[in-house]
Symmetry: C2
Subunit: 174 residues, 2 copies
């Protein structure tokens, strides 16, 4: 499995649509720390944006990137997180990002037709949209709406619940 996990630092992937007529490459990114159905719906919806035959590539955030941004690290180490994401049905390829976030480098290397961001990824949306304009890149940026009705549709919500119920003296209420 490891060969799919490492970022191809030196080579540039051909754009899928150059090889296979209408088949689009969709790019999504995230931490994917504690997996919940919201993640899966996000990835399914992202892939749908590319239409039939689309290929979904997911860049999983490095531990260092998460620590630098949030001042606390993810629970699962990056190799675990990328293995989990690559095991999901909608995902054609999962790989770890760069430790020093480099959006332009990623776009140039993976050459997506579409970049999908989550409802809580406004910062990424703005930065990618700016690059698309500044660099005149043929990329569509799509924000995927939030799914679900309960507080467990976020990794933070799941963690809060676990912490609240630890040690296991209380049965979970649902």
């Amino acid at each position: 499995m490891l060969e799919v996990l490492l970022f191809p630092r030196k080579r540039s992937a051909p754009r899928a649509s150059e090889q296979m007529a209408q088949h689009k490459t969709v790019l999504a990114t995230g931490v994917f720390d504690i997996l919940h159905p919201g993640h899966i719906r996000f990835l399914e919806e992202s892939k749908k944006q590319g239409g039939p035959g689309a290929r979904l590539i997911v860049v999983v955030a490095r531990d260092k990137t998460v620590r630098d941004r949030k001042r606390y690290g993810p629970t699962l180490p990056e190799l675990d997180r990328v293995q989990i994401v690559s095991a999901l049905k909608p995902v054609d390829r999962a790989l770890l990002g760069h430790e020093h976030v480099d959006f332009l480098g990623v776009l140039q290397e993976l050459r997506p037709d579409i970049v999908c961001v989550g409802y809580d990824q406004n910062d990424i949306k703005r930065r990618v949209a700016k690059l698309v304009v500044d660099q005149n890149l043929p990329i569509r940026v799509v924000q995927i709406a939030k799914f679900g009705r309960n507080g467990l549709n976020s990794s933070s919500g799941v963690k809060k619940r676990i912490a609240k119920n630890w040690p296991r003296t209380r049965a979970a209420s649902r």
Copy 2:
């Protein structure tokens, strides 16, 4: 997605090997609360036991079953857990178990050729093996070895780590 999640209480699935020569049906079960790479490796190894063309069915434990057995419930509700499992590449079908565990009923309904149990499922292994002998069922029971080297290869290990680091005053050490 919902139609795949409910247990077919009244009808009996045909054994895959009756329909398609050598294609085996493998059955695995578990709680799958906080997903980690050990779960994925367990499911991949389980499917391998059936050889080429095998079909993997996973019965996900109900919230009530977990509460009755462990005196504390899972963090993610059963519908979330079965959605996550059904989104994993090795899994052909995921469904919720019965609230009152009924191993014989499950075996008669799903008619697996092989039942795979995890390294920590000795009780299930014993109970299924006894049923196979008592009922003279054509089922092979296989215990899959433990994977991984770190303490995060168990849902409990992951939860312990989350609780220890909550609130988020400490950066995770890896």
